[in-house]
Amino acid sequence: MKPLVAVVRFPGSNCEYETARALDACGLHGRIYNWNELDEASGRGCSAWVLPGGFSFQDRVRAGAVAARERIMDLVFRDAQAGKPVLGICNGAQILLESGLVPGWNPGSVQGCLAGNLAPGRTGYLSGWVFMKPVGAGAGKCPWLMDLDGAPVPAPIAHAEGRFVFRDEDMAGASELAVLRYCTPEGEEAAGWPHNPNGSALAAAGVMNTRGNILAMMPHPERALHLFHVPPNLPGPWGEARRTRGAVGTPGPGASFFTGLARYLEVP
């Protein structure tokens, strides 16, 4: 039996199908649960949770704020506290910060946020491919990052509010948890625009909790799952592979986030 990974569809989620397919493609069983299917979601008992991207509850109040208070998040909270892996992608990351699961110094209280993009001369939504890499010793204990080899990983972003922000006094602690950081195609940590596409503190693309089982990331690994997803003009070895190799049936850079989980869950 493949481990069951619950993908939560909140009202307004819109990446649930491809996220479930990405899990399926990596030896897991991704299953979509509606926000109100509490009995179904708790009855089966899942091995991990994924909160997919989208615009849950229309980004009312703040992106992720309303979904973070839905009852199904009680189940996520309980499993997360028990150490089960949880991944939030894009709007899912916003929900994890709004629920206080990430950074999780005091689980349940909001200690960071994803604020509006800061980019020179523009506001609002930005889509495009970026590079990121795992940083720091903490990355090694995060199931979602276990399969990353340290090389720059390209993936697309697509968001208007993706800038990680922490209080000044929390920056040192946040630095330990910002295990996924924007970088140049060559792997240098991003100093600013355009490699850090949204002005994120610490050039953070993804932040985990102190225990390392929960990861909140803004780029979309499920949209970089296959080599065919990679733009043919992307700099670096992934773009080169797309230009020169058959793109069909070859894993892309985003697959490692899900294969890492599969390895952690000991999928043969």
Partner: protein, 757 residues
């Protein structure tokens, strides 16, 4: 002569702000044999509007080729349907729709463009399809001209409306195109295309099934509570634009609710197909409840009794004609057997919790189909409308006089200067030649995780419609206003020709097309003449560019006509037929982008160059001129070239491709270099303006030296791929590195940041 009826009708028209003429009102009075009720006035005003009835255009539209073997449903329903692929034993159809939302976008750009996207995806959803992509064909006024400030604001607002709606809905944006022309200063164009995929055996029709004659069928309204937004929207779309009027007629869109509805719809369709009982499904667009209920009943040969007291409303106390005719967004209607109505209501109201997620949203039974073919609406126990159902949908027709336009296509200027080192940067850094990246950077092109080629990587976007299936879909939308302005026939023909080239360039076989015919006031014979010639141009091109069965055309399967695109100061837009073409790739792994691959490979030119600069970017951006001879449409050659490119991509002999259009061969080559970010191109062409800048259609193709031994007559090697990232020729060189950043950023700089304005 005592004309009390005429005077009373005139009063009604004035007081109710109806768009119908007095003659039409008299006809309506005659139809009823009495003074129509307020609801009847408004209902017929909508049904007889240009937007709904195609009263000026229908006769000419009959000239368009619509039939071909792959067509399942042609023009007439909400969207066109063609056979697409088979996967795991299941047949899938492609569902496509194309509309304009021009007037609302001019008045309220953000809301107008958003509801444009919202409306077109509804047309595809209601065929039972899942929407898998959308594209936008945008025409704005000159952002640097006398109305520049307004044009820039409209351009920014339209793009914002599109991203705010489309991104939240979760439908990938597959590009489209953006053009600027001073003829749109007072009347922008926002054309929207949506495409979806449906199981062939689960395509749903938009009328009540005949079974409703023998067992009770009800009408279910699902979605947003009805309010007064968009009241008069269809008639507004059919009027001249004058200042800021009509703002109240623009609808308010809500992509959040639409996303939930789309998921609930899928569950409801699944449930209804499971019951085995036939049903009908239709979106609510122009004319709201009144139009959807009357059309569903009339097209099924039945009648209906609608009880407005059962309609969930967002504002209490609205008059019946507003509840019945407002164009509140995010609503769908079902015709279902009464015994399964409860099951449908349960999906929307309990499983997807509409009432909790959006105040007042829900699904409710608001009508009952009748075997007597009468359209009847009651409100608070009183009759608000009562008419023969067929009379409502019958419509009115006009045979408007058309005057053949005089082609203003003239001979090109004699001696032309040519300095590629200056000319090419001038074209690249013009509004017609700069990158559209600023627009795409706001769009989510990758949601659904099925996107293979995004805007800017190839001539068409490519997606995978069916997860797990290797068949890919390519789509492109085109239309050159500078050609249409000089020659309405060629404007139409090249809109098809370029879209076909863009689809063929990635290796896809064109399957079908949609069109949106944007013109000025049809009551002017000169405009009707442009319209007629545009249709003739499209038809001519489609007849040549059918690729599936010998002798069959590329079929137009859906479309829209948008007339009265002018300001009341009298300026009509340039004739603007806009065409989208959809193509199929057997294997998405064998599709071709425009990224240069390998220094040492050769560059092949397909298509001879002729002296055709008319409407071209070289004249505009370099010489500051206009006029000239628009490229001829050479149908047989276009077809032959497309076939050769498709075959070359399939056999992997062609490894990069880009079509030649705006700016000619030189601009096409420059775009390939700029998009690639490494390799360059060296051409064996001197400073020859005809070779470099003529817009005669064609292709540039990268091929390995071993593959160029058997080129067709109209192809030849014209250069090679280099490693230096530059563009050069015999005796000239373009500093592309020096313009790359400005080319990429120019649109953002002019339209968004308003720099140097």
């Amino acid at each position: 002569m005592d004309d009390t009826i005429g005077k009373a009708l005139e009063r009604e028209i004035a007081e109710r702000k109806l768009a119908m003429t007095l003659d039409e009102a008299r006809r309506l009075h005659g139809l009823f044999g009495r003074m129509p009720t307020p609801l009847e006035f408004h209902l017929f005003d909508i049904m007889w509007s240009e937007h709904c009835s195609y009263k000026s255009s229908r006769k000419l539209l009959k000239g368009l080729p619509v039939r071909a073997s792959q067509v399942v449903i042609g023009p007439g329903e909400d969207a066109g349907v063609v056979r697409f692929c088979t996967h795991d034993g299941v047949d899938y159809d492609l569902v496509v729709a194309h509309e304009s939302h021009n007037h609302p976008s001019q008045v309220l750009p953000v809301e107008g463009a958003a509801t444009g996207v919202g409306g077109i995806v509804r047309d595809v959803y209601c065929m039972g399809a899942d929407v898998i992509g959308s594209l936008d064909l945008l025409r704005f006024g000159d952002p640097l001209g006398p109305s520049g400030e307004r044009c820039r604001g409209i351009a920014r607002g339209v793009v914002e409306g599109i991203w705010r709606y489309g991104n939240a809905l979760g439908v990938p944006n597959l590009g489209g195109d953006t053009e600027f022309h001073p003829g749109y200063d007072d009347n922008c164009l926002v054309n929207v295309v949506a495409l979806g995929i449906a199981r062939h055996d689960r395509v749903v029709h938009s009328f009540v099934p005949p079974e409703a004659g023998s067992e009770p069928y009800v009408f279910i309204l699902a979605g947003k509570p009805t309010d007064d937004t968009g009241f008069g929207g269809a008639t507004f779309a059919s009027a001249d634009l004058d200042g800021e009027q009509g703002m109240g007629s623009v609808q308010v869109a809500d992509p959040f609710l639409k996303r939930i509805l789309s998921q609930a719809n899928l569950a409801a369709l699944e449930y209804l197909f499971g019951t085995g009982a036939p049903f009908g499904f239709k979106d609510l667009g122009a004319g709201g409840i009144a139009c959807v209920t009357s059309e569903m009943a009339a097209h099924g040969g039945l009648g209906i009794h609608v009880d407005l007291d059962q309609v969930p409303v967002g504002i209490p106390g609205l008059p019946p004609e507003v509840v019945a005719c407002s164009e509140t967004q995010e609503r769908f209607g079902f015709a279902v057997a009464e015994r399964f109505a409860e099951g449908v209501l349960d999906i929307y109201n309990r499983r997807f919790e509409l009432p909790r997620l959006f105040p007042g949203a829900r699904a409710a039974v608001i009508g009952r189909f009748t075997s007597e073919p009468v359209y009847r609406v009651t409100c608070a126990g009183a009759e608000a409308a009562c008419a023969p159902a067929s009379a409502i949908t019958e419509g009115v027709f006009y045979d408007r006089p058309a005057e053949d336009p005089v082609s203003s296509s003239t001979d090109d200027p004699g001696e032309l200067p040519c300095d590629p080192g200056k000319d090419v940067p001038a074209m690249l850094l013009s509004l017609g030649g700069c990158s559209r990246r600023a627009v795409w950077s706001y769009y989510d092109s990758e949601v659904r995780g099925s996107t293979v080629l995004r805007p800017g990587e190839a001539d068409s976007c490519v997606i995978l419609p069916v997860p797990g299936c290797s068949v890919g879909l390519a789509v492109s939308g085109d239309g050159n206003p500078w050609y249409g302005e000089l020659d309405p026939f060629l404007g139409g023909a090249h809109a098809v020709g370029e879209a076909v080239r863009n689809v063929a360039a990635v290796g896809a076989v064109p399957l079908c097309a949609t069109d949106c015919l944007n013109y000025g006031n049809p009551e002017e014979p000169s405009v009707m003449g442009q319209f007629r010639r545009g249709i003739e141009g499209i038809s001519e091109a489609c007849r040549h560019l059918g690729f599936l069965e010998p002798g069959e055309p590329l079929p137009i399967v859906s479309g829209n006509v948008s007339l009265y695109n002018q300001s009341s100061s009298g300026g009509s837009i340039p004739p603007s037929p806009i065409v989208a073409v959809f193509g199929r790739l057997d294997d998405y792994g064998v599709c071709c982008d425009m990224i240069l691959k390998e220094p040492g490979n050769l560059l092949v030119l397909l298509g001879p160059r002729h002296r055709e600069f008319g409407g071209g970017l070289f004249l505009r951006a370099v010489l500051g001129g206009s006029g000239g001879r628009v490229p001829l449409f050479r149908g047989p050659l276009e077809a032959e070239m497309a076939r050769w490119v498709i075959a070359g991509v399939k056999s992997r002999r062609i490894v990069a491709s880009h079509d030649i259009s705006v700016g000619g061969l030189a601009l096409a080559a420059a775009e390939m270099v700029l998009s690639s970010g490494g390799p360059g191109i060296r051409l064996e062409i001197g400073a020859d303006p005809v070779q470099l800048y003529s817009e005669t259609p064609g292709y540039l193709l990268e091929m390995a030296p071993r593959h160029v031994d058997r080129l067709p007559d109209h192809a030849r090697v014209i250069g090679e791929i280099t490693g230096d990232g530059g563009l050069s020729g015999d005796g000239w060189r373009v500093d592309l590195a020096g313009v790359r950043d400005r080319w990429s950023d120019m649109l953002a700089s002019v339209v968004w940041r308003e720099e140097g304005v």
